[in-house]
């Protein structure tokens, strides 16, 4: 499973209103398109830690703007 597919599964597990796999495109912006607040992004990243077996440095990831940026960060953590 690619990073974005796995990240989609993580975000869908958060059961946020009006979010489906279809609108979790690389370009989707957390704040504007997905109505994420800072707690939502923190929740997503802690769930991603478990899903990807990584440790997120929360100081480094303030305001990841898009799904693509989150995928890039996770891939970097995975050494991809």
């Amino acid at each position: 499973m690619s990073t974005i597919e796995k990240l989609r599964a993580v975000i869908l597990k958060m059961k946020k209103k009006n979010i489906t796999a279809a609108n979790l495109t690389p370009e989707a912006r957390f704040l504007q398109d997905l109505s994420f607040d800072s707690q939502d992004q923190t929740e997503m990243l802690v769930l991603a830690e478990e899903a990807f077996n990584i440790t997120v440095d929360f100081q480094d990831v303030k305001n990841l703007p898009t799904i693509a940026a989150a995928v890039e960060y996770i891939d970097k953590k995975l050494g991809k």
Partner: protein, 333 residues
């Protein structure tokens, strides 16, 4: 992860529960007026509509009232209590312990008494500690109290934190029972590297109270909310799964999950991660706020009173908070 204990022949069961919330109620509408924000601004952030405020009462006043009700609920007399453990981070005085003040108030003449500070995990820590005295046969009636008067430590001008906290107390009587019910297993742990995430800096030996400390508000609670959220999300689901596994159970067996009532966002995120349906998750912080060590007994009491816990149910209590500390108890009601 910290030590885990799985019960042997003698378990401790909760034979009585009691609670006490002081009469003074501070609604979020009133607090909003003081802070010049709307009630909705508060409730949308923390889902707390009101909290009780001690308004001159001490932690021992609240704790003694809850303890008295728990003893009546268990049908025991003051002289029956062998051990009193008071979980609190807001003792009446640095010395003696709040437990000794409550012991005197209630006439628990045969009880040893001490305080236990594990912040918001305190009640679960105290249940774990008290249950060991039952399991060894050393005690027949252990009175465990979680009592807090947080309001004097709240910076009422800081709208990020003051909307969260309240005052209150809850208590439980532990008695021995067989291996089928009561506390099946417990875990407690700590990570002191997080000591600065939620702290009161001044007022202890490290930084005695001075005029300057008060001017700088160092005698009030400081909290990094995001760090608490990250800690809770990383730790609580993992500890819950591990303690259930230790007891030979899984998340599907849980009838009621009673977490520390930190705030509804944290609890809902934890419940989603654990795939727990909302009806299996106890929440009552909308009427009490975060009452630290008193949160879990207040929630447990209400769960029993409203019929959300029935005999035979599997109940999981999980505390987490300053220290950092965490603790979990699995019991069959």
């Amino acid at each position: 992860m910290g030590p885990t204990y799985v019960g042997d022949k003698i378990h401790a069961r909760i034979a009585g529960l009691g609670m006490y919330a002081p009469d003074t109620v501070l609604t979020s509408a009133e607090l909003g007026r003081r802070l010049a924000v709307s009630e909705e601004w508060i409730t949308s952030r923390v889902n707390i509509h009101e909290r009780h405020i001690a308004a001159g009462l001490a932690t021992s006043d609240l704790g003694a009232a809850a303890a008295q009700r728990a003893m009546a609920d268990a049908g025991i007399s003051p002289g029956d209590v062998d051990l009193l453990i008071v979980a609190t981070e807001t003792p009446d005085r640095p010395v003696p312990s709040t437990a000794c003040i409550i012991q005197d108030r209630l006439g628990l003449v045969n009880a040893a008494a001490f305080d236990l500070n594990a912040a918001c995990s305190g009640f679960v820590y105290a249940l774990a500690v008290g249950s060991q005295f039952i399991a060894t046969g050393a005690c027949q009636n252990v009175l465990v109290v979680g009592a807090e008067v947080l309001s004097p430590y709240v910076d009422w001008s800081d709208e990020q934190t003051c909307i969260l906290f309240g005052d209150g107390a809850g208590a439980a009587v532990l008695q021995p029972t067989g291996p089928e019910s009561g506390i099946l297993a417990w875990n407690m742990g700590a990570d002191g590297s997080g000591k600065d995430i939620l702290t009161v800096l001044a007022g202890g030996s490290q930084m005695p109270i001075t005029h300057q400390a008060i001017d700088e508000k160092l005698h009030l609670a400081k909290m990094n909310g995001q760090e608490v959220f990250i800690f809770a999300m990383r730790k609580v689901p993992a500890v819950t799964e591990q303690i259930l596994a230790a007891a030979g159970l899984s998340i599907e067996d849980v009838d009621l999950f009673v977490p520390h009532q930190a705030n509804s966002h944290i609890i809902e995120a934890i419940a989603r991660r654990l795939d727990l349906a909302p009806e299996k998750v106890m929440m009552n912080m909308d009427r009490y706020g975060n009452v630290a060590a008193a949160s879990i007994p207040l929630a447990l009491y209400e769960a029993r009173e409203t019929g959300r816990i029935k005999p035979g149910d599997i109940v999981v209590l999980v505390g987490f908070g300053a220290g950092l500390t965490w603790g979990a108890v699995v019991l069959r009601w």
